[in-house]
């Protein structure tokens, strides 16, 4: 807590100095650990420097660190920021404080994760996580061909709180694979016999390994593994290897981090859906610049309640009818 307070104080000092001359903006990410957010910060800093915007950055200490994010928004309001880019660590808990920020005249853009309700922010720039899931689900189905009817599926999710990214990817994957997902906001309510089970990974390799081991104990014949992100996929692969089952099991994932794309090339992961954090951040900065100059607010993508920054399927074993790029091409676009 002490370190957080000193960084906020420092940020106040920095933004206060710049407030007169330039447009100032804030970037508040979930953590500083996840390379996704590290890359997002890089993208925002570069874009801000290019557009002459003074950017202050903040991050929670861990996933779900609401207090730090609330304090960061308050700091931004106090410093008179023209725009706030935020990846809300809790879709609901941060709504009151960002409402205050909007009332104070700031443009609030959610990056990567939507608020609930989505219109609590002026706009959301995000990956269509459901679509990301659908892509790997469709790919897995096409890859397995007739065997898809006898698939045994392990689902490695994020954590017990079932946040939006978690259920969107999980249910998107299942729908893409052709499974009735019932409630699209609930994980684990499906009754398709092909699903062996769900377990949580915290999005880390140690969590992925333990979760995969547990599900293999329920059914050793699992042949399709969905993972919330690539670190979890790497852990799942280690578990399969220790069971002597790494051959013939398909692992799919979402993210597009560089280690993950290399794991596609290395045959650890079959396919992954890549998202574009740099683009989210740079578009966010553009929007703040436009808002500061003309008062114009960004628009959502057609048919969605957010602006879709795109998703691309990366695989070295392309299937007909699903556009994808190879790991070599993916390596040029990957983040982190």
């Amino acid at each position: 807590m002490k370190t957080l307070m000193t960084t906020s104080a420092l940020a106040i000092a920095m933004t206060a100095g710049a407030a007169y001359a330039e447009t100032s903006a804030c970037l508040i990410t979930k953590t500083d650990t996840n390379p996704f957010f590290v890359k997002m910060k890089e993208g925002a800093s570069e874009a801000a420097a290019a557009k002459g915007i003074e950017l202050s950055t903040f991050a929670g200490k861990y996933d779900g660190d609401v207090e730090t994010q609330v304090a960061a928004v308050e700091t931004c309001i106090a410093s008179g920021a023209k725009g706030i880019l935020i990846t809300p660590t809790d879709s609901r808990a941060l709504v009151p404080v960002i409402t205050q920020a909007r009332e104070a005249g700031a443009l609030v853009i959610a990056l990567d994760t939507q608020f609930e309700p989505a219109d609590a922010a002026d706009a959301t720039f995000a990956t269509d996580n459901f679509k990301a899931g659908v892509l790997i689900g469709q790919w897995a189905k096409a890859k397995m061909g007739d065997d898809a009817a006898n698939a045994k599926i392990a689902l490695l999710d994020l954590n017990a709180s079932e946040i939006s990214v978690d259920y969107q990817r999980d249910n998107g994957f299942l729908q893409g694979f052709g499974i009735d997902i019932k409630d699209p906001k609930d994980i684990g309510d499906e009754d398709d016999p092909r699903i062996v089970g769900n377990d949580v990974t915290d999005g880390s390799p140690d969590g992925g390994r333990t979760a995969m081991e547990n599900l293999l104990q329920i059914d050793p014949d699992i042949n399709l593994v969905y993972t919330i992100n690539e670190p979890a996929a790497a852990g799942a692969y280690e578990a399969l290897k220790s069971f002597g089952k790494e051959e013939g099991v398909l692992i799919v994932s979402v993210d597009g981090g560089c280690p993950g794309v290399k794991d596609i090339a290395g045959g650890v992961i079959g396919a992954t859906s890549m998202q574009f954090p740099l683009l989210m951040a740079s578009k966010g900065i553009d929007a703040i610049k436009a808002f500061a100059e003309t008062g114009e607010k960004p628009q959502n993508s057609e048919g969605l309640d957010f602006f879709n920054t795109g998703v691309e399927l990366i695989t070295d074993e392309p299937v007909d009818g699903i556009p994808s790029i190879t790991s070599a091409e993916g390596l040029k676009k990957c983040w982190g």
């Binding site: 002490k2 370190t3 500083d32 650990t33 996840n34 390379p35 590290v38 861990y62 954590n159 017990a160 684990g188 089970g197 377990d199 949580v200 915290d202 999005g203 880390s204 390799p205 140690d206 390994r209 333990t210 081991e213 547990n214 104990q217 329920i218 670190p231 790497a234 852990g235 692969y237 280690e238 290897k241 220790s242 560089c258 280690p259 290399k262 794991d263 290395g266 650890v268 982190g336």
Partner: protein, 360 residues
């Protein structure tokens, strides 16, 4: 009265009633001990008995509920493997808690040192053996830093390690660039880092070297704590630091050595974790410090210091592993696993408090 001949008086008058007096030697009262009190007494003398009983009962219970999938040699060895890293951390944590301290930085030291080893061996091309030695030495240094603040600057252990937790964590993010080191890169550049991930089959069980390392660490530390003068000093400090000081124990030096040793054990866990996880990720084991404290507490080691056997922490870690696996295989949702572990902690501390009242 006067006509009957009296036997010769046996001394002065007041001594004549001596025969009627109680002839028993002074002793403790033995009767009116209920069964419960006797159990309390036995547990007080053998604090490790509680976790052992809980472990056996939970093994039987989950064996009945979840059936053969749970109670197979393979699954039981899997649990041993799954708890090995947290188990080693719990051993380090026990050392500290026995001195009536607490260490919130154990997991940060562990992951930091695994990143140090990985960076040196995979990216800088340093031979694996040297990278590991540097990592282990770094662990001693990190632990000694905690110890220095506690003994020389006289900061409370909780505050010190709360601070160093953040410090080590920030260093870890800086060194790793928040990036994981891929398993395949480790395989090609420095496979020796994954040494403790190797395993062999024993009957139906699969034993990994990390599990053996965990058990070895516990036995070595148990020996040091119970069979050496150093170990008895550690317990004495935990029980009453003032008294230990007055009886000539060099408390500061002993405490410093405890923290340094704990740091070493954490770094050892860091090496073992590379084998277990397969890659090196700065996002791993974020809750490792709390998990280690959980294992220690469930293992019946008193948070007030000076009491409890380090073996308890081994059983504590195993109990958590058995609960996680058993509930998982019974198809229970994750949040109920968290719920169950929470109750285990409360019950364990409640039992500890009850045992402490044995003399009453």
């Amino acid at each position: 009265m006067s006509d009957t001949p009296n036997p010769a008086p046996k001394g002065q008058e007041f001594e004549q009633i001596l025969d009627q007096s109680d002839t028993k030697v002074a002793s403790f009262e033995l009767k009116h001990h209920t069964l419960l009190e006797r159990i309390q007494h036995v547990l007080h003398n053998n604090p490790t008995l509680v976790p052992v009983i809980v472990l056996v009962i939970s093994l039987i219970a989950f064996g009945l509920i979840a059936g053969g999938k749970f109670f197979s040699a393979f699954n039981l060895s899997l649990i041993l493997q799954q708890v090995s890293i947290i188990g080693i951390l719990a051993a380090a944590q026990s050392l500290i808690i026995i001195t009536a301290g607490i260490d919130l930085s154990v997991a940060a030291i562990m992951v930091l040192m695994s990143v140090v080893m990985g960076n040196l061996a995979v990216f800088a091309g340093v031979p694996s053996g040297i990278a590991i030695l540097v990592g282990l030495a770094g662990g001693v240094g990190a632990g000694a830093m905690n110890g220095w603040f506690i003994t020389k600057v006289k900061l409370p252990p909780f505050i010190t390690t709360l601070g160093t937790w953040s410090i080590f964590y920030a260093l870890l993010l800086w060194l790793s660039g928040a990036q994981s080191i891929r398993g395949q890169d480790i395989d090609t550049e420095a496979p020796f880092l994954k040494f403790f991930g190797a395993s062999f089959n024993l009957g139906g069980a699969r034993i990994t070297l990390s599990a053996i390392l965990m058990i070895l660490v516990f036995f070595v530390l148990w020996y040091m704590l119970n069979k050496t003068a150093w170990g008895r000093h550690v317990y004495a400090i935990g029980d009453d630091k003032e008294a230990a000081d007055l009886s000539g124990i060099r408390t500061d030096r002993t405490l410093l050595s405890v923290y340094g040793l704990a740091g070493f054990v954490c770094a050892l866990a860091g090496w073992a974790s590379i084998g277990r996880v397969g890659s090196i990720s700065p996002q791993s084991f974020y809750e490792g410090n709390l998990d280690s404290i959980t294992a220690v507490v469930i293992g019946g080691i008193s948070l007030f210091g000076g009491r409890g056997s380090i073996m308890g922490a081994l059983f504590g870690a195993l109990i958590v592993g058995v609960f996680r696996s058993g509930l998982r295989l019974s198809g229970v949702d994750v949040l109920w696993q968290v719920f169950a572990i929470g109750w285990l902690i409360i019950i364990a501390v409640a039992i500890d408090q009850w045992i402490r009242r044995v003399s009453a």
